[in-house]
Structure formats: structure tokens, C-alpha cells
């Protein structure tokens, strides 16, 4: 516990002091997003790669509201439904010129937005081969997480619950197993609804948490961003501290000796 200050999240050799990764979508305004990012203490923010809108140029100023002196920008392949589409989007994202990192998403189902693991693995292999630092958004399935790691993923990002659902960590045991087996960082991505969900993810041993809606759509996004920062820090600290074992009966905290009723 003496080295709290040096407890960094390291992905592909790059160190982040904050273990909270946040999105840049759905905020009431660019300014509120910037304030929320600052309050969250995040050092990594995801963005989507989209066609330049030739009729409405207001959206492209987004990047001006991300403080790149403190925040690393992570392009994603959100909205892609095939490996080809995701690979093409990742290449374009790299070409914008900020980094060779990609939060890789290949969606397999429109209603649940669950990942297509087969296509995800295929896209991971191709992009790793091309020199990308690949962070795949995946199911909370230890087997696919192991395969992604073997394919060269720089981290694995299992979902806590469906994207935007706010249901919290639905399968804590899987997250724990994924953490136990992984040699790359495990980032719980999607499903967080409130601060306790983020704390639980970290208490399970996750190396970080990625969220967007829980902050952006909160009634007060800036306050929620701060709550998430504290929750991630608290959960991390609790995990490192080592929790007590669960037991089914009470165990008194005060000494039995010296009780007045029994005293001689």
C-alpha cells in the first residue's frame, strides 16, 4: 500500500494514473463533456470514427473539447458489424494521426449489441499484424478473452452488462475468472449504471473500467464523473487491500474478556 502513487494502469507500455476510461458521446453539450472529463480524472477518452458531416459542421469541434495535454484519445470501431468494416474503420482512425491504438468493436446483434466473437478475433489478428495496439470489446467469456490475448490483444475489455443498460456487473464470477487468467489488463467495458457498479468491477480485480452513458446521461454528468473517479479508486484500493473472507455467521469485533456482566 506504500506505493499507491505508482499504481498505474499500463497498457502496451503506456502508463495511465487513472483507471477510468470514458466516452465522449451523448453529453448534453461539448462543454459539459469537457467538465465531466476533468472531474473524472480520466486520462483516456474514446471517440468514434465517422464521415465528416458536410451540412452540419458543429460536431467536428468535439476534439477541441478534449484536453489532449492530459487525455489520450482512443478511436473505436463502434457501429461496425463485420470484421472488414471494423478493420477499415480502424485503419482510417489511425490515419487521422493521433495513435495506432484502437478500441475494437464488432457488434453481432442489434438488439443486445453483444459482440460477434468470431469476427472480433479475426479483426484482432489482422490489426495486431498491422501494428495496431488492439483493445477488443468482448463478451464476459473467459475462453474468448484468452483467445484474444493469444492473438495479441493489448488488453481485454469484457462487458459488465449490455451497452447503455446500466445493469451493473451481471456475471461477477466471469470477470474474476478472466482477471485470474489474463496476463494483459482487464478493462470492464459497458454496463455500469452507478458508482457502486464501477467499485464492484474494481473489487473483482479489473484493471480499469470504461463507461460512457452512466456519466453522460446522468442528471448531473459532472457530479457523476467525480463519483465514478472515487468509486474506481475505492474499488481498486479495496482489491489491493485484500477483503476479509465471507462467512455465514457473526464474528464479534470486541473482546469477550472483561465484560461487566461476567466479571468477577
Amino acid at each position: 500500500m506504500n506505493n499507491r502513487a505508482s499504481d498505474s494502469l499500463v497498457i502496451a507500455g503506456r502508463a495511465f494514473r487513472s483507471r477510468l476510461i470514458v466516452g465522449s458521446g451523448k453529453y448534453p453539450s461539448h462543454q459539459i463533456m469537457a467538465d465531466a472529463h476533468a472531474a473524472s480524472g480520466t486520462e483516456m477518452v474514446t471517440v468514434a470514427v465517422r464521415r465528416v458531416n458536410l451540412t452540419d459542421r458543429t460536431k467536428e469541434s468535439l476534439i477541441d473539447y478534449i484536453d489532449q495535454s492530459r487525455i489520450f484519445i482512443l478511436p473505436n470501431t463502434a457501429g461496425c458489424y463485420t470484421a472488414e468494416e471494423a478493420i477499415r474503420t480502424a485503419r482510417l482512425g489511425r490515419e487521422v494521426g493521433l495513435s495506432n491504438w484502437v478500441k475494437l468493436e464488432v457488434i453481432g446483434d442489434e438488439r443486445t449489441l453483444f459482440p460477434d466473437n468470431v469476427a472480433l478475433l479475426e479483426a484482432t489478428r489482422v490489426l495486431v499484424q498491422e501494428g495496431f495496439v488492439v483493445l477488443p470489446y468482448t463478451n464476459d467469456d473467459p475462453v474468448i478473452c484468452r483467445k484474444l490475448e493469444e492473438a495479441g490483444a493489448a488488453a481485454v475489455m469484457p462487458l459488465g452488462a449490455p451497452i447503455g443498460s446500466g445493469l451493473g456487473i451481471q456475471n461477477p464470477n466471469n470477470i474474476r475468472i478472466i482477471k485470474e487468467q489474463s496476463r494483459v489488463p482487464v478493462i470492464v467495458d459497458a454496463g455500469v449504471g452507478t458508482a457502486s457498479d464501477a467499485a464492484i468491477a474494481m473489487e473483482l480485480g479489473a484493471d480499469g473500467v470504461l463507461m460512457n452513458s452512466a456519466i453522460a446521461l446522468a442528471q448531473d454528468p459532472v457530479a457523476m464523473a467525480e463519483a465514478m473517479k472515487l468509486a474506481v479508486e475505492a474499488g481498486r484500493l479495496a482489491w489491493r487491500a485484500g477483503r476479509i473472507a465471507k462467512r455465514s455467521h457473526a464474528s464479534a469485533s470486541s473482546p469477550v474478556e472483561g465484560m461487566i456482566a461476567t466479571g468477577a
Binding site: V22, G23, S24, G25, K26, Y27, M33, T46, V47, A48, V49, R50, R51, V52, L54, R57, K59, E60, L62, I63, I73, P75, N76, A78, G79, R91, L92, G93, R94, E95, V96, G97, K103, E105, I107, L113, Y137, I163, G164, D189, A190, L210, M211, N212, S213, A216
Partner: protein, 59 residues
Amino acid sequence: MEIAGPKTLAVLLAELNIDPQRVAVEHNLTIVKRANYDSAIVREGDEIEIVNFVGGGTA
């Protein structure tokens, strides 16, 4: 969108008021490096894809 050609990609981006530093461009499905915007010639019927970063989280 239909654009009269031929012209360089750099000229096309300038006409569309797009900052080349913020975008990536595909010309007939092939990525054009930023250093080549001045030499890449866009002709009538070519397919140009111009992307940038917008807000997003997951999916």
C-alpha cells in the same frame, strides 16, 4: 455529393472547408496519406470517403 473534377485532394478539402489535419481520406477505398493530398488527383466518378472523430463510447 457530386464534385466537378479533376482536382487535387488538397484543393477538394479546401473547397469543402475541411482541415486536412483532422481527417482521414479514402480514395476509391484506398487510404491516402496526408503527405500525398497535394499529388492525389480526384476525377469525376471517384469515390471519396472523408472521416473524422466524433463523440462516442461503445457501439
